[in-house]
C-alpha cells in the first residue's frame, strides 16, 4: 500500500489528542449531559481509526502492543463486579436539587464508575476489531 502524504500525517497527529480528550469528556459527564459510556467509547475508537489510516498498521501496533485482549477480559470482570456491588448495596445517591438545575459533577453514586468501565471496554473492543481487520487485509 502506498504511504500517505505529509499533510495527512501532520493533521492526524494534531487532531488525535483532541479527539481522545473529547471522547473522555463525553464518558465522564455521562450523568449530566447527553453521552455516557457507549458514545464516548465510540468517539475514542474513531480517533484510533484516524491514526490507523494515516500511519499504517505497523507503527500503531508498535505503540499499543499486542496485549489488548487480556486487558479486555480484566475490564469485563471489573464491570461485572461494579454492577453486582451496586445491586447489593443499593444505589448510593447524594442530594440533587429537584427540577431543572445546573448539574454538579460529584453526584450519582456509582454511575460514573460504571460508565468509565464501559467506555474503556468499548474502546478496547472496537480497537481490537480494527487492528485484526487491518492485519487480514494486507498481503
Amino acid at each position: 500500500m502506498k504511504e500517505m502524504s505529509v499533510i495527512v500525517k501532520t493533521l492526524a497527529k494534531l487532531l488525535f489528542p483532541f479527539t481522545m480528550m473529547f471522547g473522555l469528556y463525553l464518558v465522564i459527564h455521562g450523568h449530566l449531559t447527553p453521552g455516557g459510556g457507549f458514545q464516548g467509547g465510540a468517539v475514542m475508537a474513531s480517533g484510533l481509526a484516524l491514526m490507523l489510516v494515516a500511519y499504517g498498521r505497523k507503527r500503531v501496533v508498535k505503540k499499543t502492543g499486542e496485549t489488548i485482549l487480556p486487558l479486555l477480559g480484566l475490564v469485563l470482570f471489573v464491570l461485572g463486579s461494579v454492577e453486582f456491588s451496586n445491586f447489593a448495596l443499593g444505589s448510593h445517591a447524594e442530594a440533587v436539587a429537584f427540577g431543572p438545575n445546573a448539574g454538579a459533577l460529584l453526584t450519582a453514586g456509582t454511575i460514573p464508575v460504571f460508565s468509565l468501565g464501559v467506555g474503556i471496554e468499548v474502546l478496547l473492543g472496537l480497537g481490537l476489531i480494527l487492528l485484526m481487520l487491518a492485519m487480514g487485509v494486507e498481503e
Partner: protein, 110 residues
C-alpha cells in the same frame, strides 16, 4: 403519518440492496440500512408533541419525550456493530479464497 414513512422507505431500500446486488460489500451495506431503519422507527414511537430531551441540566421545561425507547436502542445499535464486524471479516476470508468479491462466482466445491 409522514414521520412513520421514512423508516419504512429505509427498510425497503435495504431489502432492495440485499436482493439485487452481487458485490459482497453492497450486501453488508444493505444489512446496515435495515438495522438503521428499524432503530429509527423505534425512536419515532416515543415522541411527544412540543417536548424537550429528557435531561434535567438547564432544561427549559419538564414536558419531556419518553426515555425508555432511547435506552433500548443503545443495545440494538451495539449489536448491529457486532454483526457488521463479523460480516466484514467473512468478506475478507471470501476474498482470500476465491480472489474476487462477486457473490455469483463462488460455488461450493466437491
Amino acid at each position: 403519518m409522514i414521520l412513520y414513512a421514512a423508516p419504512m422507505i429505509l427498510i425497503g431500500l435495504g431489502l432492495y440492496a440485499i436482493m439485487f446486488k452481487r458485490n459482497l460489500i453492497k450486501i453488508v451495506i444493505g444489512v446496515g440500512l435495515i438495522g438503521a431503519g428499524a432503530n429509527l422507527f423505534f425512536i419515532t414511537l416515543g415522541y411527544r408533541e412540543g417536548a424537550v430531551a429528557p435531561i434535567f441540566t438547564m432544561a427549559p421545561s419538564t414536558h419531556m419525550v419518553l426515555p425508555m425507547p432511547q435506552a433500548a436502542i443503545l443495545t440494538s445499535i451495539v449489536i448491529g456493530v457486532a454483526i457488521t464486524a463479523l460480516m466484514l471479516s467473512f468478506a475478507v476470508n471470501y476474498y482470500k479464497s476465491y480472489g474476487t468479491l462477486d457473490s455469483a462466482k463462488g460455488r461450493l466445491k466437491g
